[in-house]
Amino acid sequence: MSELRRTVFAARHAALGAKLAEFGGWEMPMWYQGIVEEHLATRKGAGLFDVSHMGRLTVRGARALEFLQHVLTNNAAALEVGQAQYTIIANEQGGAVDDAYLYRFVEDEYLLVVNASNRAKDVAHLRGHLARFAGVEMTDRTEEVAMLSLQGPRSREMLAGLVEGQLPEPKKNALGAAKIKGKPVRLARTGYTGEPLGFELFLARADALEIFDLLVGLGARPVGLGARDTLRLEAGLPLYGHELGTDAQGQEIPIFAISLARFAVSFSALKGEFVGRAALEKQHEAAGRIMRGEFYSPALEALPRRVMAVAIAGKAIARAGARVIGADGKLVGYVTSGTVVPYWKIEAEGLACRIGEEKLMRSIGLMLADSALRTGDSLTVEIRDKKAAGRIVASHLQSKSPPYARPIVCEF
């Protein structure tokens, strides 16, 4: 077995007493104090995540845009300098090789951030298509650029106090360049937690530790991969290998099975032919029919199951692979991700809304289930030898109004 990679922050993780584990070929912190505590700290204050294990690829050259339009599902031509977008690396079957974020910090270079565990596969896949785009240069920068994510209601004030220059525009996916203690930092209003306020920071390796320490000094709580997973799950964000890729039976999951596909797949004329287009058009058409309630075979053939959020009664965890039974007693799908998440009780409503002191827990999941199911439908989730009541919900978290993400709790 090859040696595990360590990020530039490895010594900090050890000093902070992190529980370390292998992830995607890297030795990463699973938690420092605990998953539950770190989840809550992110929702109330700010969580600081080492995400340097993620793959960072730069793409440049006269035909860079043309290449990206061909291998990614979103419309990269819509990306102005200073913007980022969620996108998917599709295969010809309309399934995902990986999901990714595409950043355009400067005019002549794109940065594609991919999942750590898929990096080698993605690079091989992308290189396979590169031959047709002479002059395009794709470089793996994973080891030379460090990446931190600062997420939560206090993230903006923390950065505003450190940064010389402007924070990026206060809207999702906006980018900016700034300096912290004279060190250049690239900032993105992106993240994987569902927090209305959150930033990702791209740093030179040599500057990374100082900036990590500054943020911790301001009260940012280091968060491991454990809470990174529970936070994304509560936010309903897909994880490759669970909601994207292949399902429990080894079948390709259609990209339009995830609701984010609406924002990640473009059929703009500017894209022309791209990898997976024909299959994705069929899925898109099917998704439209399903939305309109037209459940006949062509729609269900291209998109038989979709990813839905399910609230679960009790405190047991419905882990990936748990069977989900419909009201008629028939199997309707499988849990793709499940956990128990903590949440702060919200006090008052509307503008007066604030996070309370009381901590509660709830069992939630995402599932891949029959497309004909609807929000509000009651289900039974098989958790080992027990049966738990479940209900399809639109989402587990309200992420739209800063500064706080608010839990949407289902009563049973």
Partner: protein, 128 residues
């Protein structure tokens, strides 16, 4: 590690304290550290018969679910409703307020056959 000397232990990380005919059963600090972030506990109701070496319940953390194995045989006389409702309370005091069940022991010799603290610690220190 220094597990309490007044308790007996099973290799599967449960502890047991004999009080006359009754044995109080819980899980060790080492088990709590391994599992971390306890969120769910399934314990048998009073009257349930449990057998040494067999599963009597389960404990779940955010990361994993584990079987609880009975260190002794007998009949459950009481279960700790406070921790059943809030499993995270085990972490704060696994040998005291974090006990799980009380069992009327059917074979007291089983208690004597369990590991002492030193033997348990020696075994547990080999695990991570």
């Amino acid at each position: 590690m220094g597990s309490p000397n007044n308790l007996k232990y099973a290799a599967t990380h449960e502890w047991c304290r004999a009080e006359g005919e009754t044995a109080v059963v819980g899980i060790s600090q080492h088990a709590v550290d391994l599992l971390h972030d306890l969120v769910y506990l399934d314990l048998p109701a009073p009257g349930t018969v449990v057998a040494a070496g067999k599963q009597f319940g389960e404990v779940e953390s955010v990361k994993a679910v584990s079987e609880l194995i009975a260190p002794v045989s007998g009949t459950v006389t009481e279960r700790n409703e406070a921790v059943a409702a809030a499993p995270e309370k085990i972490s704060a005091d696994p040998y005291g307020a974090g006990w799980l069940i009380k069992v009327r022991v059917s074979n007291p010799a089983e208690v004597a056959g369990l590991l002492d603290a030193a033997a348990y610690d020696a075994q547990a220190s080999g695990e991570h």
